[in-house]
Assembly symmetry: C2
């Protein structure tokens, strides 16, 4: 990039796009000093260019015509912020083929079209950068790829969905149920009107796919691993596990090597309260890595939002301008060929909450079933204070196989004394 | 760096040097794949090449002759791990002048000779890399310089000395005094036989100088700011502030912009227990940054030790091999010219422990003095359970000027009822 002036095109004038414009308006002097060039945001393209987004931009820079970016030979960096698969995918591929570097926050697209996007960038000798796609403004992918490049990673544990983390944090703090917190989160703009994607774990799964590539060189699609959201979690579970067992409930994406296999999963997880991940609260994100040389490392910050995400976008732009030919590895070049572990074969400690009628013999029945599946218990607690017909029984198991736990619960839930399906939460073991 | 084979020379066969050799032995295949070249650790130079360091290295690679590295035209990267000022400084300058890239963990040298080292590297068109100099293996300087480059930083708060943090953590956990914990730390290898450098804050100060350059573009020497260690901290202070006030005691390096000035200081600091920095325990380090776009970010990990530090050293080597001409900014190019704030003018909340005889009128006397200096109190507690003649009185002030606090304490310590010098700990306010 030898030009004295760098022209940037921005596709998508939504929240993050407005943040990018805001950084241009506020920090362009600093950024130009750092790259030693003039940087111009030449064009902003969106279907809607009339709504006031509350940021200053001269009207002649706005356009609804995508070709004003993709076909402009002066534009060398394209920022894609419309999200989703199409037309984002077509725009990115066309930009790359037209010799433009691309910066994106689009984790859904990267998780689905990883190979096409990366190979198109490589073929056309341009860069694709996506620090903003996981963990928003947190420096995460660059450290994984570069500062920590001398490590073989053993595990990556991420709280990487701010909406789910906010909901669990508030459920814990205020002893509210999910629906009530969700309503509040929607009012504050921390949750979408349709929150499925966040609270069912899909967003975490897409980000975990990217982390798994960078950490282990292994690309896998979401249907290849267990993804479970937070909708089954109740205030009772959060309160009991916190007060009596010393755990904090988090939606965790886990990717780790174990017994020569790669174990990838997304689900609510009980984290010991003195683990640093347990202190990642509200809308914040935290990713905890273990490298074979560096040991544990955690990166923490705002995983979403207008300005934090725009910070990562602009950091990528600066990096591309300063180092257009940077040699980058997306994870270990030799893919770690371990088999992806089946969820059945995952070994974990488990918290189980049963809903039983308070009759003699209940414990005897269920302990018999657990014993048949080789599951031993660390603790059993009954909450006699609950004034319902069915009382909760809280179990914590020693390490057991997932398939045994599931089979045991299926049998237990058939017992006549069991009044409602049992709740299962896995306990962090790293 | 177009050679197919990269030769590296290592100066210093101590703990970290052995870690570098260990990474070579364990992970060289991974690293060679990532750079697409053969990497050879060609020579290791130390005065002592006979002691067994417990790592495998062929004897012909060992030498006591520094010129076998500095004058070998095949060696393009020199790792300096002998520490201290001389001969490290001469070696680094000579290596740079001979066209070699340098990787170092030497924060003392960088803090003192920053300008000479950086300008020599720039003049000779080679790189100097020093991720390992602050925070050991934690990716910290690269994120500050690159991923977060679009931000103006408002503040940097670092727990960056593992020895001091280990001591304070154990004092808190076990209610022990500093000398007892220090002895244990020395036995475990977490503290030097002469621990002055760590526990008096000098090591933190040197690292803070580097962070201040990268965050604010401002170079300053240690005599320009307040540096205070942890030797005045007692278990009584830690226990009272934890149990009654909800604070955790940490040795903190602070560098921040405030009121158009740069405020740089190192001292024990009371951190609210729900602040993420409060969860950085034992030998771990954590650096909490606030950028104007990204908001708060924290990086956490092992700030010292053989393998974590070697991880950062090798990360720098990989980066140099992949991107020998990388354009790097060491902080904002236009130095932030704000005046360095005098410690007198620092505004903080303060915890003060007085040692007073339990007589009527004590509180009246001291409240009069505080009032004369415009200091108002948030809380006053006396511990009548202490079975000494002198009982501790614990004060927490509202925000006040440092000079007023110091003057007030000087007067208070002259009161006839005061039996011993008062203890003062600043409270984090970010």
């Amino acid at each position: 990039m030898n030009e004295k002036t760098i022209n940037i095109g921005l596709i998508g004038f939504g929240t993050i796009g407005s943040g990018v414009i805001e950084i241009f308006n506020q920090n362009i002097d600093l950024i130009q000093e750092k790259v030693g060039k003039e940087i111009i945001l030449k064009k902003v393209v969106d279907l809607d260019i009339t709504t006031d987004r509350g940021v200053e931009i001269s009207p002649e820079k706005l356009s609804t015509d995508i070709d004003e970016i993709l076909e402009d030979p002066e534009i060398s960096i394209v920022i894609e912020l419309i999200g989703g698969y199409e037309p984002a995918f077509s725009f990115i591929i066309k930009a790359l083929k037209n010799g433009k570097n691309v910066v994106t926050a689009n984790k859904a697209l990267l998780a689905k079209y990883w190979k096409e996007v990366i190979s198109t960038a490589e073929k056309n000798n341009v860069r694709i950068a996506f620090e903003a796609s996981v963990g928003g403004g947190i420096p995460l992918l660059q450290p994984l790829n570069e500062s920590l490049a001398a490590n073989n990673f053993n595990g990556i544990y991420g709280i990487i969905n701010g909406t789910a983390n906010y909901i669990l944090s508030k459920m814990s703090e205020k002893e509210l149920n999910l629906d009530d917190v969700l309503k509040e989160a929607q009012e504050k703009g921390y949750a979408e009107q349709d929150p499925t994607f966040d609270i069912e774990g899909h967003d975490t799964a897409q980000k975990l796919i990217i982390l798994t590539i960078l950490g282990f060189g292994t690309y896998l699609t979401q249907d290849k691993f267990h993804v479970e959201g937070i909708t089954q979690i109740t205030p009772l579970d959060i309160k009991f596990t916190s007060k009596n067992l010393g755990y904090v409930t988090k939606l965790l994406g886990i990717s780790r090597k174990i017994d020569g296999e790669l174990e990838v999963r997304v689900h609510p997880t009980l984290i010991p309260h003195n683990h640093l991940l347990a202190s990642v609260n509200d809308v914040f994100n935290g990713v905890y890595l273990i490298g074979d040389a560096v040991g544990p490392v955690m990166m923490y910050g705002q995983g979403a939002g207008m300005m934090p995400t725009a910070s990562a976008i602009m950091g990528d732009c600066i990096d591309i301008i300063n180092n257009p030919n940077k040699k980058i590895n997306y994870g270990p070049p030799k893919k770690i060929e371990e088999r992806i572990k089946s969820m059945d074969d995952v070994v974990s400690k488990y918290y189980i909450r049963l809903n039983a009628i308070d009759q003699p013999g209940v414990l005897h029945n269920l302990s018999g079933i657990l014993s048949n599946f080789n599951i031993s218990l660390e603790s059993v607690n009954q909450d006699k204070n609950e004034k319902n017909d069915a009382i909760p029984i809280f179990l914590v198991t020693h390490k057991a196989y997932e398939k045994d736990i599931r089979n045991a619960i299926n049998e237990i839930d058939q017992l006549p004394q069991i009044q409602a399906p049992s709740t299962l939460i896995r306990i962090l073991d790293e």
